[in-house]
Symmetry: C2
Subunit: 396 residues, 2 copies
């Protein structure tokens, strides 16, 4: 399966997804595991998991923290991204003196199944062929991603997690972890998430997928063979999604109607407003680090997520008898995963007398707040982890 | 300029924008007026206005009602659309026994300048050439659209409007009418609108424009010459926009996570969910009736709208001394033009002691509520128009 790992000769593809996965793997630990039976019915004989760890597993193996990344994030939670060179996406969360501290915790962050940062996904060479899977890769679910992570934990000798946490799609994985492996999850912190993807969110994802698939350079998913990239389609998908990550108030405060590098309207279709330039930049930089097919697969996994549906329509049933301590967080200005979605989870947990706390953090930064230096979020995380650490008998 | 009006021979283009404008003109009144000096500095020597009227101008010319349409609407407010055959977009608003009644009012609705339903826009043949303007059409503003409408009223012998009303972009035109021609506007009803386009709304428009311009069949705007249409790009633009017209609650109520014509997930990228099929339908039907370049121009006009900026940064100044009676309406679940935007206008009007009433209508239908059979909106409109009609001395 690792035949995909040599950097490609084609200069087009070299600027593309294949080189991204090569660099991601070079900067990661990775292991090939399997077999993995997927929700769609297909079994992957083998699957690679690319991951990063920070800190050391303690003697009684009680200090492991699994961090689950969001849609376009990756395993580089606390070190620089191998393509962009930017700091880890969670460097306010993980690090010395941070709520999750490698001096105390054994931190694990793995690229999700279906991703493009080294874990098995549509970029992998399809077994028995010399071509990438592309769209012949099976559609994976949040449940599949979690089972792949569980196999990684088995490999690492981690029977029980002190904590599993993540925001947005990461929060979906947290909920799935708690539902599927309650005995392996001592504490769980799902942030800015939902127990099922809403109609509006499915709709936004579908717009992004249609933008990608409308790009003739997508070639029905076979763009690597054609030496092309659906860069414009993927950029449009990212731009649309990016608006949903911010709040109207944040956009107004950051950009308002400020013009871009000139003092009068241009009466044309170039970027007149700063918010347009900002979006263009978001689209352009995204396509340099992400793969279009992986975007299709991961958005689809989110769309399919519905924890209640997995349990006969009852979300409470998903958590009945759970020994896990939960701490949920949402943000006042998050309209993608609004507080109401978190409250629904809290209500389900309360109805089965689970151990749950919930904080709605005041922020005008929209959904993206979960990735930012939000003091109230970080204080809440630190306090909850301190309490859970005491209960777990971790050294303070 | 009317050389563009014969139906084209090319079967591709015949399914396209040119045939739409031909059918629109065949079903409309139209007049060529001019010259028209535009805000960008260009003067159009002549411009065509395509419009519909309903009812009769009374003897003292006091019963004219101008209806301003929204971004993708047109002059067919109260009769069937010439391409889709669907009822007029405003048939709950205009008709016998409706708040605006051709038995009492002389109703005028004109396609905006820059549009694709018969008024001069990027589809028109550029004077002195045999090619459409395409992107050489000047970028027009809401102010330009209003001046074109004022020229139409001059042509129709309407000095003073009893009322000007419209929702969304139509509401922007209403505000511009009241600010530019206060003596010509007895009453004004801006619905679900704003005095300036917000950063978030500019961002959504830019995503739509980028989707169109990313489509290789757009050909830098010259798709008619190439016998193509940027149908996929325009459909993506429409799908993204359509989500913003609805509320999360309405999407959840209408579609939730209901599957499309089957009882299990498809584990693929076809439409699994009803909300996806609905969006696909919205995109597909839109490209049959609308022109991609016109979409670029009209969205740009909305982006450029900033009534305060036209008046030294003070919205109140735009309305100082206004004799107009205003009635504003917004909808509780409209997140595209939220109530806060209407309140800002109301505050500006109050600060100059204008005659203003304001109603926030309870609705879960999002921005689209202004186009729907919303009893409270229609009752408010009817009541306000009755009172204004008494003050104007109209027969009840």
């Amino acid at each position: 399966m690792d035949t995909a790992l040599s950097e490609p000769a084609s200069p087009v593809a070299a600027a593309g997804s294949t080189v991204v996965v090569c660099r991601a793997l070079a900067a990661s630990q990775h292991v090939t595991l399997g077999p993995l039976k997927l929700d769609c019915g297909v079994t992957l004989d083998a699957h690679r998991v690319a991951f990063r760890t920070y800190g050391t597993l303690n003697a009684d193996k009680s200090n492991a923290v699994l961090i689950c990344h969001a849609l376009t994030m990756d395993q580089f939670v606390a070190d620089p991204h191998p393509v962009t060179g930017k700091p880890g996406w969670g460097d306010t969360l993980v690090g010395p003196g941070r709520p999750i501290d490698p001096a105390k915790h054994f931190v694990i962050c793995a690229n999700v199944l279906g991703g493009c940062m080294g874990s098995t996904g549509p970029l992998d060479i399809r077994p028995g062929t010399s071509e990438p899977y592309n769209l012949s890769f099976p559609v994976v679910t949040i449940g599949d991603m979690v089972r792949a992570q569980a196999a990684l934990l088995d490999h690492l000798g981690v029977e029980s997690l002190f904590c599993v946490t993540g925001g947005s799609m990461g929060g979906m994985l947290v909920l799935q972890w708690a539902a599927t492996y309650p005995e392996r999850v001592f504490s769980a912190i799902p942030v800015a998430t939902a127990a099922r993807h809403s109609a509006q969110n499915i709709a936004f994802h579908e717009v992004g997928r249609q933008a990608i698939m409308a790009d003739p350079e997508w070639h029905a998913g076979s763009y690597i063979k054609h030496g092309t990239r659906p860069a414009r389609g993927l950029a449009v998908a990212r731009m649309a999604a990016h608006i949903t990550y911010l709040s109207e108030a944040a956009l107004q405060r950051k950009f308002g109607r400020q013009l871009q590098g000139k003092d009068a309207l241009g009466f044309g279709f170039d970027a007149d407003f700063q918010v347009e330039s900002y979006l263009h930049h978001q689209g352009k930089s995204f396509v340099e680090r992400f793969d279009a097919n992986a975007y299709l697969y991961i958005t689809r996994a989110m769309d399919y997520f519905d924890l209640a549906a997995q349990h006969g329509g009852s979300l409470a049933t998903a958590f009945r008898g759970s020994p896990t301590r939960f701490c949920l967080m949402s943000f006042t200005s998050d309209w993608l995963f609004p507080t109401a979605e978190s409250r629904e989870i809290v209500r389900a947990l309360n109805s089965v007398a689970a151990n749950v706390s919930f904080v709605e953090v005041e922020s005008d930064k929209g959904h993206d707040a979960f990735l930012l230096d939000e003091p109230e979020m970080l204080r809440t995380l630190a306090g909850f982890l301190r309490g859970a650490g005491n209960a777990r008998g971790l050294k303070p």
